[in-house]
């Protein structure tokens, strides 16, 4: 097995823990894994940002705008450090689909810990890409992440083509119009899945639409807190 990030061979250290049972080979080597920064310590209860207080200033202002305060909370796993930026660039923008595999175990583990309260009948909904973008990239990275989850995934949102989120300024992102539309009503709790939470506008737009179409509660699960 070679590390999907650095291509070096992963040499399994044999110890008492894995001497008698086969362990699943990991797709990322320890040196690369150590460079990924897991979010830890106290965080904003609403958006997973690392800080001392309970609620960050952004989320406080979201709470003041009731019509856009549509998600219960967001949970993210990683910080967007340099290593992660490199990996995301290759995975998402260059289109190296396989690289997403390194996140499988992290995503499953985090979901087990943070979303155990959620019913088995709830749905994972990936944030969609516009038709143009998906043809350009070939795949939707959010859909790939959603497949790692133990609940059913439903791809019921669509997106109108527009400028890439990452090319916009913060102000443009927050004031942008809702780019999503929905294909069917929904009556189950939903976990929205995406790769990066930056301002949270995208996720809130999607959640707003879901709630308008009957969804009781919307949570967000993102790989990275930008």
């Amino acid at each position: 097995m070679n590390c999907l990030v650095c291509q070096n061979e992963i040499i399994l250290q044999i110890g008492w823990a894995n001497l008698f049972q086969l362990s699943v080979p990991r797709p990322i080597c320890e040196a690369c894994a150590a460079e990924l920064e897991l979010l830890k310590g106290n965080r904003c209860r609403k958006c997973s940002r690392q800080l001392e207080e309970q609620l960050c200033s952004d989320c406080r202002s979201w709470e003041e705008h009731k019509e856009m305060d549509t998600i219960e909370f967001n949970y993210s796993i990683f910080a967007y450090n340099e290593k992660m930026q490199d990996i995301v660039a290759t995975w998402k923008y260059r289109g190296d689909y396989m690289l997403g595999e390194i996140f499988r175990e992290y995503v499953r583990e985090a979901f087990k810990q943070k979303f155990s309260f959620i019913g088995k009948d709830s749905l994972a909904i990936p944030i969609p890409l516009s038709t143009e973008r998906i043809l350009e990239r070939g795949f939707n990275q959010a859909l790939q992440l959603g497949e790692f989850l133990p609940i059913e995934q439903a791809n019921i949102l669509s997106r109108i083509h527009g400028e890439k989120q990452s090319k916009k300024t913060r102000m443009e992102r927050i004031t942008t119009e809702n780019p999503f539309f929905i294909r069917q009503p929904i009556n189950k709790p939903v976990v929205l899945v995406d790769d990066i939470y930056t301002t949270g506008t995208t996720l809130r737009h999607a959640a707003q639409l879901l709630k308008q179409h009957g969804c009781p509660s919307v949570y967000a699960f993102t790989l990275i807190r930008g």
């Binding site: 291509q7 290759t90 289109g95 689909y97 396989m98």
Partner: protein
């Protein structure tokens, strides 16, 4: 009207001939492109072919199963393979097509007097330069120029390049390292002012690669096929060229069937030495540095506490005592370490020790640099300008860079990253200017390795062949 068509056709030929491109790399509107495709001026080609037990990427030659990925493609609604090896150049996948220009060869201009370099070659350099000119004129398949570090390899190429430009040939100078491309580009532009020159490397502003004279990293050659009449590969022994089979594959494919390949090296690897001994690879040896002085011979110094000290990021005593007694304390210091972590962590303790012993005025005069350092370019320039007195570096500065007056130290010369070629190259950083043609080279080690012995022997041998 027909004149106009031939004009644009020649432009297309210049832009697209000799390349393997994805549709999104061809900057033509669909109607134009479809017309060229229908009239067979572009030939389509499968990018990934399946052989009996493995796959083969037609762009980079990758055949390693672990470097092919699969993904559910939304374009063709099926799950299929893509190449992970060359993904940095844009994804090549099974449902895509690679296009090759087949609408005729472009006409490259014949430059009468392209060379604007005014320096003079030494007698030994001239001999090698003449050999290169003959090789290019006679379309000899390949020639190796084995020239010691600091022999002035680049200048030796100028007569050959001049001659090729006179005949309207297309030339590529390729090297494995982006730093070397960046250093050579301005020199080449100055030497051939009237000729369009383009530099290609990961992150270069210029992307087109349509000039008659191209200087590129060997990675960039992956986009070319049968493009060049003269292919010059500098530092063939450097990483990653000798370690990554896709790079010789690309270099070989980028040249025309009727062409000349010239290899340059200061430290040929065993494979090349074997070919030379068997007389299967024509070569010429340039044993003298351009200033005519011998190569500094490294001294190996045993240091018993080295590994223990380095683990704790402290400076071994024997190194400090050497530092105090240098032959010429005006020389700058270039310190090589095996890892990035060492380069970063040694900066502080070394700076403090040097300041305590009065060898360094301020901590700012000591810097460290490595491949992932965003400011590496500026730091190297500061070192060149003597703004920095001591530079700690990983092997990124082992070759292709010139500092006028330095002493060179390797900490833990027995480490695996320092193979024979690396050690010879590092030793070659010292004594490069006519004003100060010597310099000390010290290998601090805790147990001699085969590589160290071989490096010292081979430097002595090269000096002997040079008549010292």
């Amino acid at each position: 009207m027909s004149n106009e068509i031939t004009a644009t056709r020649d432009e297309y030929a210049k832009q697209y001939n000799g390349k393997l491109l994805l549709r999104n790399e061809i900057l033509l509107d669909n109607p134009v492109f479809q017309h060229l495709l229908a009239t067979k001026q572009f030939t389509p080609m499968k990018p990934i072919v399946r052989k009996s037990f493995r796959m083969h990427c037609n762009r980079c030659g990758n055949e390693k199963t672990t470097l092919f990925g699969k993904f559910p493609c939304n374009q063709c609604k099926s799950t299929h393979a893509y190449c992970r090896k060359c993904i940095e150049m844009g994804r090549v996948s099974e449902c895509e097509v690679l296009y090759q220009w087949s609408g005729g060869q472009p006409e490259w201009p014949k430059h009468e007097n392209p060379c604007t370099w005014e320096g003079e070659l030494t007698a030994v350099q001239q001999k090698a330069a003449d050999r290169i000119v003959t090789a290019i004129r006679m379309n000899e398949k390949e020639t190796l120029i084995w020239a010691v570090c600091g022999a002035g390899k680049t200048e030796m190429l100028f007569p050959g390049i001049t001659d090729a430009l006179r005949c309207g040939k297309r030339i590529c100078l390729a090297t494995p390292r982006a730093d070397v491309v960046k250093e050579l580009y301005p020199r080449l532009k100055r030497a051939f002012r009237t000729v369009p020159v383009q530099a290609l490397y990961g992150g270069s502003k210029e992307k087109a690669g349509t000039a008659q004279l191209i200087i590129a990293t060997t990675h960039q050659l992956l986009r070319y096929k049968e493009a060049f009449d003269v292919m010059i590969i500098d530092e063939i022994d450097a990483f990653p060229f000798h370690a990554d089979p896709s790079l010789p594959f690309a270099a070989n494919r980028a040249r025309k069937p009727e062409s000349t390949t010239i290899y340059l090296t200061a430290t040929p690897r065993n494979e090349q030495r074997k070919l030379i001994r068997r007389k299967q690879l024509p070569h010429i040896f340039v044993p003298l540095r351009f200033h005519g002085k011998p190569l500094p011979v490294p001294q190996a110094k045993m240091c018993y506490s080295l590994k223990r000290d380095l683990q704790k990021f402290t400076i071994p005593k024997s190194i400090i005592s050497w530092l105090k007694n240098r032959e010429n304390s005006n020389r700058q210091l270039l310190i090589f370490v095996p890892t990035i972590i060492l380069a970063e962590k040694l900066k502080r303790p070394l700076g403090l020790t040097l300041q305590q012993t009065g060898l360094l005025q301020s901590g700012k005069k000591l810097q460290s640099v490595h491949a992932q350092d965003p400011n590496r370019g500026e730091k190297v320039q500061d070192f060149r300008d003597r703004e920095i007195f001591v530079l700690i570096t990983t092997t990124i500065l082992e070759r292709g860079v010139t500092f006028p007056s330095v002493d060179v130290v390797i900490l833990d010369a027995g480490h695996d990253v320092f193979d024979e070629a690396a050690l010879v190259q590092i030793a070659g950083r010292a004594g490069r200017s006519p004003a100060d043609p010597t310099g000390e080279v010290i290998f601090f080690h805790q147990g001699r390795t085969e590589a160290m012995n071989e490096a010292i022997t081979s430097i002595k041998e090269m000096n002997k062949r040079g008549g010292f």
